[in-house]
């Protein structure tokens, strides 16, 4: 899971039936330099499926690829990014 910061919300009008009712967040993945506070350069954002009601500014651990759909097994959704955890505290040294 990479670490990302939530910068917005995405709403879907027409979507795959299994995706209706879900919440989607716009997330920017954080590099080591971002986490250390040494860089404000922003990587490209991605859309992450969110079950936990995460808010703007929250730091999350998001799963990508196969593991993003795994929580819904065996009723898989076509997701490639999933909010696995809202991170309360991040300590980098």
């Amino acid at each position: 899971m990479r670490i990302g910061e939530i910068i917005g919300t995405v709403t879907l009008s027409r979507c795959h039936p299994s995706l209706t009712g879900g919440s989607y967040r716009l997330v920017v993945p954080l590099s080591l330099e971002n986490l250390k506070g040494r860089s404000t350069e922003r990587a490209e954002e991605l859309v992450v499926y969110d079950d936990f009601g995460a808010g703007i500014g929250d730091k999350i651990a998001f799963s990508e690829g196969v593991e993003a759909a795994q929580p819904f097994a065996p009723n898989y959704k076509p997701l490639d990014a999933y909010n696995a955890a809202i991170l309360d505290q991040i300590d980098i040294r």
Binding site: I3, L32, E67, A68, P71, A85, D88
Partner: protein, 86 residues
Amino acid sequence: MQLARVVGTATSTIKHPSMNGWKLLIVQMLQADGRSPDGDPVVSIDSLGAAVGQDVIITSDGKGTRELMNSNITPVRWSVLGIRND
């Protein structure tokens, strides 16, 4: 399996239930020189007690991690396989 350096730790209360009780480490994968960072840091689960500053071997074998966590629905992919000695 990849070589990575433990650069930090993370805590979370609101998370996927399969992750309850698992230590979350923030690890930075390294390039072939063993020093330069390779990509973004990732969150890995750890049962071996690796400390910040140590080098570890992590695996992206999701199936292996699901077996380690005894959960078929966990979203976790990365886990620590070993801690480097020297």
